[in-house]
Amino acid sequence: MRKLLWGCVALIGAFAIGGVALHRGETINAMWIVVAAVCVYALGYRFYSAWIAARVLAVDDTRATPAIRLNNGRDFVPTHRWIVFGHHFAAIAGPGPLIGPTLAAQFGFLPGTIWILVGAVLGGCVQDMTILFLSTRRNGRSLGQMARDELGPIGGYAAIIGTLVIMLILIAVLGLVVVNAMKHSPWATATVFATIPIAILIGLYLRNIRPGRVLEASLIGITLLLLAVVGGGALNEHETLRTWFDLDGKPLAWFVIAYGFIAAVLPVWLLLAPRDYLSTFLKLGTIFLLAIAVVLMRPEIKMPAVTQFIDGTGPIFGGSLFPFVFITVACGAISGFHALVASGTTPKLIGTESDVRLIGYGSMMLESSVAIMAMIAATLLDPGVFFAINSSPGIVGATADAAVNTISSWGFPVSVEQMDGLAQAMGETTLFARTGGAPSLAVGMASIFSSAFGASLLAIWYHFAIMFEAVFILTTLDAGTRVGRFMLQDALGHVWKPLGQTSWYPSVLIASALIVAGWGYFLYIGVVDPNGGINILWPLFGISNQLLAGIALCVATGVIIKQGKLRYAWVTAAPLAWIAIITTAATWEKVVSSDPRVGFLAAAEQLAAKLAAGTLPVEQAAVAPQLIFNQRLDALLAMLLTGILWVVIADTVRVSWRVSRGLPVLPSSEAPAAAAHAQ
């Protein structure tokens, strides 16, 4: 009976995937994608994750987890698996799976969708579950510590450098997304600004009025945030008030930089913690609503399955389908960042070892389905509209007429009237060149929400979606700056002891300023770049995120081999090999490609030649030296990242070779077994 049921799931899944892949009509219903995804996840979870848990990891429920052995009522607490699932999902789900697929939609809906499904089931979910398990067996040690303990100091240092670099790039690119969403949009800007005093108010409530009463405080906060969205609309109608919030990219970048610094040095309870509560509630609520709305509305996908931009001429970012679709989708398929969360807080809450399947593999499946929804929201727009929103003026032309002509000439008809009508419906002055993914996602979400829950509220839904994205992007920005600060303080402590004290104020200020300067630099350059910055920063982020995934998979592979399970090593070694191929290919392209839209060095040379010839307009000539320097720096950075990955791979091969020869390697850092029932 059960076999029959799973046979049916497999059959329906195969039918849906076939339908999605072979469909060549005008449009295709999103339900095909939803059904295909659900079947793939169900099969992956039921069979692959169960097999990995039983055979490769050999989870053992008679063995006491650290939550049981070290229960202290605080961080080590055995917790019900669905509650840990909720915490873990809330921790790994960020703006990445929403933005990545939106950008990757320039290749059509098919390539991104396939990679989201395959990458998650065979790569991302496996990585998350394995690292979660390894950390649970090691009392919740971090990825960096595990790399050092199991592979050696090289792996450890690589993990630390990788984490720091990814943090800087990630924050810069997310900051750029927020800046682009707020640029010349008084409604969005006012709403995002209002989230700061609201968070502080909630912080004061949670500390002074009713300490720790998270639910009621969040309810008050969410109500205020919704009022802020409506209030932003009222402000937008006001002649003078709206001009105060009608800001250019540069001042907004400075605002984000100043905000990041202040948030990093303030006590966490005042701004960071309450903002996180609000963003978590919003995030879970919105994802839930979006899933319901997609199923209720069953939208038609208007984007072709595959566009001509697979050749590398795409307007959103340059680069061909291989390897760039794999770099761009990032978090929805495999994200190294998850390995940091899976080796920190979560393992300390796990009550029985077999829970790692639901929590590690299952949470990543859910994250992947968020990416699928983002892909649906991006591709249900008219392709012409999608490209008009997401293409920067440097590519399609600075005026509305030029942009619609260019985009229509690609075979994606769009008109100025259509774009103006859409902008008006969304309560914006223009939607041309709103790059970064957030505005087009917000338009997609607003159209899903409004047709499912009330069409009159299109503008409100749009700004709700922008606020929703901004709130948790700013949370990532605060939290990332803080983590970066701790890591830097730790490193600086080796140079001069007092700098290593995390609570010594001068050290806090210096380390925070350095971290903020690091990402602030990339953010600022991204804002002044006439090609829109995303084109440069998102691939760098993708490469660094995959680098971290590569390190995590190296640790996992090394441990599996050290345990004498060489025959199962492919479970993590195969995704590792794929990660190594795509990051290396992407880095190669980004460094040596002669297409200035792809290669950093080619772009630097082209710009330098234009500058020397004096053909640049005055304002572009002024920033050209910075851009040239930045492109060269980016090339170096990409090479550094890929170099680190290969060093760690070589180290893993060295350890594996020694194991196969019976030579001594570092001993397993697993905590000794203790019986679960004895406690």
Binding site: N71, N72, G73, R74, D75, V77, T79, H80, W82, I83, G86, H87, A91, I92, A93, G94, P95, G96, S142, T163, L170, L174, L206, R207, N208, P211, G212, R213, V214, L215, S218, V268, W269, L272, A273, D276, Y277, F281, A330, C331, S335, F337, H338, L340, V341, G344, T345, T475, T476, A479, G480, R482, V483, F486, T502, F541, N545
Partner: protein, 64 residues
């Protein structure tokens, strides 16, 4: 028997939501403290909340 499960459902759901949001963190701490460290005074609600926030935000707890 079934009726009883149905009647208890809202309560179970509420407990789940509180645990998911960590609204019950202090309550759980007090329970643990009473069991493990009876005799020593527990932290106040505010002290506990502030210490928990410091701990939570000194590592990677949010992702991209």
């Amino acid at each position: 028997m079934k009726l009883r499960a149905l009647r208890d459902l809202p309560r179970a759901l509420w407990r789940f939501v509180r645990a998911l949001s960590r609204d019950d963190a202090y309550f759980e701490y007090l329970r643990h403290h009473a069991a493990a460290h009876a005799g020593t005074p527990p932290l106040s609600a505010r002290e506990f909340y502030l210490r928990e926030q410091e701990r939570k935000w000194s590592g990677v707890s949010r992702c991209c």
